[in-house]
């Protein structure tokens, strides 16, 4: 499991769980235009400017993502981008999609 204990301080506004991740989790309400310097578990930092407000607990992209890109969180695949997602965008059900248990896609491809 990623060891987040040293990175989680009172002023931290977002978390990147693994160096391979391309999304971060907001642990404060974030405003459009806000710039964050986010610690990465490998010791590096990422600078991301929010393009829109992000709710507590929701994700945003830490890099520009192309349609079809794998979304990585905890160092693992959690879905795929359904459209171009600029860095600092809310990444949720409107622009990323699951790749598991998708009986809806299977029936469509069989049509």
């Amino acid at each position: 499991m990623p060891d987040t204990k040293d990175r989680i301080a009172g002023e931290t506004r977002a978390l990147i769980m693994d160096a391979k991740d391309n999304v971060a989790v907001a642990i404060r309400e974030l405003s459009a235009g806000e710039t964050l310097v986010i610690a990465v578990p490998d010791g590096s930092e990422r600078v991301v400017t929010m393009v829109e407000p992000i709710q507590f607990g929701h994700k945003f992209s830490t890099a520009d993502l192309a349609e079809g890109d794998q979304i990585i969180k905890y160092g693992e695949r959690i879905g795929r981008a359904t459209q171009f997602i600029p860095a600092g965008s809310h990444t949720h059900v409107h622009n990323i999609t699951s790749q598991r248990g998708r009986g809806d896609l299977k029936s469509r491809s069989e049509d």
Binding site: M1, K5, I8, T12, K59, Y74, R100, G103
Partner: protein, 403 residues
């Protein structure tokens, strides 16, 4: 705190961190953390009688359910095994089975199978007894007898290696995988290090994370069993032509920031810690291995916890982000909040706040240790919030249609 003190003074042989004060059941050799008399209907038709008896004998615990009749095949076997497993959980000192008298899963046979294990059991059939009034009167009498016999059990020092801890999450949010579940994972590793058993479940919530758990399997066969169990749920969605993600993650999970089943699963998996996976259990099946095991249950919290308890888990730690208020009649359920706003809003339903990890006031290690200490003190008798409220959710996982 009083109970912790008692554990310190009475367990002279075993140190407090390696033991709890439990009730030893001679017939099974297992040890309970509670000493309860359970009233259970063998069929939905007995629910009212069970509730009436429980109103008159509030020292007893009870459950109601929707099943026991018009079932066939493996579904009958699973429902019956769940009733018998629940009634013989080591937290239960004695049980009253209330039957109607004409049901598919014959109540007298269920009671006989419970008796065959050596458990203290009483049986009442409503038709045989002459209706509701007569059965309630007889039931009250039988419960007093069961309580008298239950009171003969005294707490004694039991090694932690005999504890089976079910680890659950429900009403998850984006913090489940960041605070409460990884903290509970540390607790799980501590209990496994002490020789105990940690029971994961909720197999559909392994979808997208099953490779991580399978990689830790004790043998290739165990890993293959897990992958196959996960695939069965995924194939249900494929066969029905539906998107599994429309039902799981649930709307509340999505509001909480979780987007896909993969994301939810990877976060959920963390509560099992980092030790090898030793066994994949069928629903309601007791473990034959110690250490980390997983039971094949649905993601539905109530059906999952019911299966865990029928499979002999004595306690549950349940993490929640949105705020679950469920409990179990026969076992303490320790609620761990994933975030401080929910913990503060629902403080009378939460036992521990893991939101301190994102607040920056406590580390995962600290919260993991606090949960472990809570597990010991609750095993020793400290009441959880769900027990204070008398939460008694009970749900049997059905695998066949009602006919």
């Amino acid at each position: 705190m009083m109970t912790t003190t008692r554990a310190h003074t009475q367990s002279s042989v075993l140190s407090p961190q390696s033991s709890f004060m439990g009730y030893r059941r001679a017939y099974s050799g297992r040890a309970g953390v509670r000493n309860l008399v359970l009233i259970i209907p063998s069929v939905v038709c007995s629910n009212t009688v069970v509730q009436r008896i429980a109103q008159q004998v509030p020292e007893c615990v009870f459950v109601t359910h929707q099943h026991g009749c018009s079932q066939v095949g493996d579904d009958v076997e699973q429902t019956r095994a769940t009733l018998i497993g629940y009634a013989t959980n080591p937290n239960v000192a004695g049980v009253l089975v209330v039957s109607l008298g004409c049901e598919t899963i014959e109540g007298d046979r269920v009671a006989q199978m419970i008796a065959d294990t050596g458990q203290d059991v009483e049986f009442l059939g409503i038709q045989e007894s002459g209706g509701i009034k007569a059965t309630v009167e007889l039931g009250i009498e039988k419960c007093h007898g069961l309580l008298d016999r239950a009171n003969r059990y005294k707490r004694e020092a039991v090694p932690l290696s005999e504890l089976i801890l079910a680890v659950q999450c429900g009403g998850s949010d984006a913090f489940s995988g960041i605070t409460a579940n990884p903290a509970l994972g540390i607790t799980s590793d501590m209990l496994v290090a002490a020789g105990g058993t940690v029971m994961l479940a909720e197999v559909p919530e392994c979808l997208g994370a099953e490779h991580l758990l399978a990689a830790r399997a004790r043998t290739p066969e165990v890993g293959e069993q897990l992958i196959a169990a996960v695939r069965r749920y995924e194939e249900d969605a494929l066969r029905m032509g539906v998107d599994l993600n429309k039902g799981n993650p649930a709307p509340g999970n999505i509001k909480g920031g979780l987007t896909t089943i993969e994301e939810k699963s990877i976060g959920a998996m963390k509560k099992g810690g980092s030790t090898p996976l030793n066994e994949v259990l069928a629903y309601a099946q007791p473990p034959t291995q110690k250490g980390l095991v997983i039971m094949d249950t649905p993601g539905n919290d109530i059906e999952s916890v019911t299966g865990n308890l029928a499979g002999m888990a004595q306690m549950v730690v349940f993490t929640t982000g949105r705020g679950s208020v469920t409990g179990a009649a026969i076992a303490p359920v320790i609620k761990v909040a994933t975030n401080t706003p929910m913990y503060e809003k629902m403080s009378d339903n939460m036992d521990i706040n893991a939101g301190t990890v994102v607040d920056g006031t406590q580390t995962l290690q600290t919260v993991g240790r606090r949960i472990f200490e809570k597990v010991i003190s609750v095993a020793n008798g400290e009441q959880t919030r769900s027990e204070e409220w008398g939460c008694n959710e009970f749900g049997i996982n059905r695998i066949g249609p009602s006919l």
